[in-house]
């Protein structure tokens, strides 16, 4: 049902490190691959080999360019998927109860067998986390790989979302953001992790770690051993060897 459960102590989610993401899209297709054969209907690709291919993806990586006022422009890769909000508007708008937030860990899911595909939840989500599958007619979204993270058929270390398992740079972290002592919570505290669009009052669980400061470091310039032009090569060599 679409009333939100009381806030859970355990809040599973992702922490995405924008200082580390190189934009390789690995998480995008690992997610596609896992969820194409896992939870619910496959993720279809319409016009897959045609002029306007349009598929369902639960995770997409944007690429932004930032022009600071007095520094070199930079590119920032920005993965975007469901943030598993505490105050998930996509859940409360759902007329059928298909969209729900799990009481035990806060994961927001769609019960596809109850979804009529009205699309209202996607409208209610500020983050573009939901995509209506054109083939199945049901709303698809990140499940936080709920069919992996508790899966007894997987090795313990593999019980993480597919995107996290595959991320080559380790820019994606999975854990309990409700536990202030968890690794992800500490990372968020250390690196100043932030919410997307806090003004929407959705209280996202997922956090983003901002890019670190870029640019030159304060390093003292190298001091020449002596003025090579003035003393000549031999003088320089002598001086060098003294050092050695």
């Amino acid at each position: 049902m679409t009333a939100l459960p009381p806030p859970s102590a355990k809040k599973l989610g992702l922490v995405i490190d924008l200082d580390t993401c190189v934009g390789c899209q690995a998480c995008v297709t690992a997610c596609k691959g896992w969820n194409d054969q896992g939870y619910g209907a496959p993720l279809s690709d319409m016009d897959a080999y045609g002029s306007a291919p349009c598929g369902t993806f639960l995770n997409r990586v944007h690429s932004y360019e930032v022009q600071p006022e007095a520094a070199a422009p930079q590119i920032i890769n920005f993965p975007r998927s469901c943030l598993h909000c505490d105050n998930a508007p996509c859940v409360t708008v759902c007329p059928t109860g298909a969209s729900y937030k799990r009481a035990e860990d806060g994961i927001v899911l769609v019960n596809e067998s109850a979804c009529i595909g009205c699309g209202l939840c996607a409208w209610a989500c500020p983050y573009g986390a939901r995509e209506l599958d054109a083939e199945a007619g049901v709303m698809k979204k990140c499940t936080l790989c709920v069919d992996r993270i508790y899966n007894d058929n997987l090795a313990e270390e593999d019980r993480v979302p597919a995107c996290v398992r595959t991320c080559p740079t380790g820019a994606r972290h999975f854990g309990d953001l409700g536990d202030p002592e968890s690794a992800v919570s500490r990372l968020v505290a250390e690196r100043g992790g932030y919410d997307l669009m806090p003004e929407m009052e959705t209280k996202p669980v997922n956090k983003y770690l901002p890019p670190r400061k870029k640019g030159a470091v304060e390093a003292s310039p190298l001091a020449p051993l002596l003025d090579v032009q003035a003393t000549g090569f031999a003088g320089w060599l002598d001086r060098l060897l003294e050092k050695f």
Binding site: Y64, T96, A98, W123, E131, P211
Partner: protein, 291 residues
Amino acid sequence: MHPAPSVILFTVLSGMGFGLLALLALGAAQPLGLAALLHWGLGYGLAVGGLLASTFHLGNPQRALRAFTQWRTSWLSREGWASVLTLFMLAPVALAAIMGAGLPSFFGATGAAMALLTVYCTAMIYAQLKTVPRWNHWITPVLFLLFALTGGAILTGRNGFGAIMALLLGAALFYSFRRGDGAFAERGATIGSATGLGALGEVRQFAPPHTGGNYLMNEMIFRVGRKHVRRLRIIAILGASLLPAPILVFVPPLPWVMAVAAVIHLVGAFAARWLFFAEAEHVVGLYYDAH
């Protein structure tokens, strides 16, 4: 937002239908016999037709009955309940009217209230969305209700009332356009704030996540030309409000005149509703630098 024909049809027709039903239930017109059948039939036809149209945009319409379950939180579910209750509650009123029997006015009054509540619920589906600043405002239910009442008034021949509603509707439309144009900016969200990168500098999209299309872009990001908007706004205000109003006041309320007024109003209503969707910008567009 993508102006889907099914949703435009649904909101315009069912709005008009429930407006007509409300006014009929309140006895705004008291046709007899065949005329009653036609009036009530039209009301039911519009309301039910609109509701059916709405199912065309569902991915799995066969499960539509499930939409009645979540009335505690969902305006869409509430709208479903309200519409069905309205149609049920007004059934005896309609039958009585067609049969020429009398029913205590209580039945009509509650039915009418339910009809307007239905329209209100429809409007709240949109007005509740913080993600669409243009909609997320009291003017949205006001507009929807004024459309229902204007349409209902025209179809019931309540010319004076209709003219007033039409003019109010025109004013409301005018206000909604003006206010709506600044709504997104007023909320203050930008690509910089949405990404949280704004503090670093000016943010722009370098490359979209996919060069191929996706549901979000098709559904939430719709561009409409400025010139096109101006023309449609004029059509909307003229059609929905400024043309029907003098007709209602100055032309004798003959059935064909009313039909012409209704058609003109509908043209305006469709234009207005198309704009309602097409002009509405969803905040997700910020991530695509498409605001």
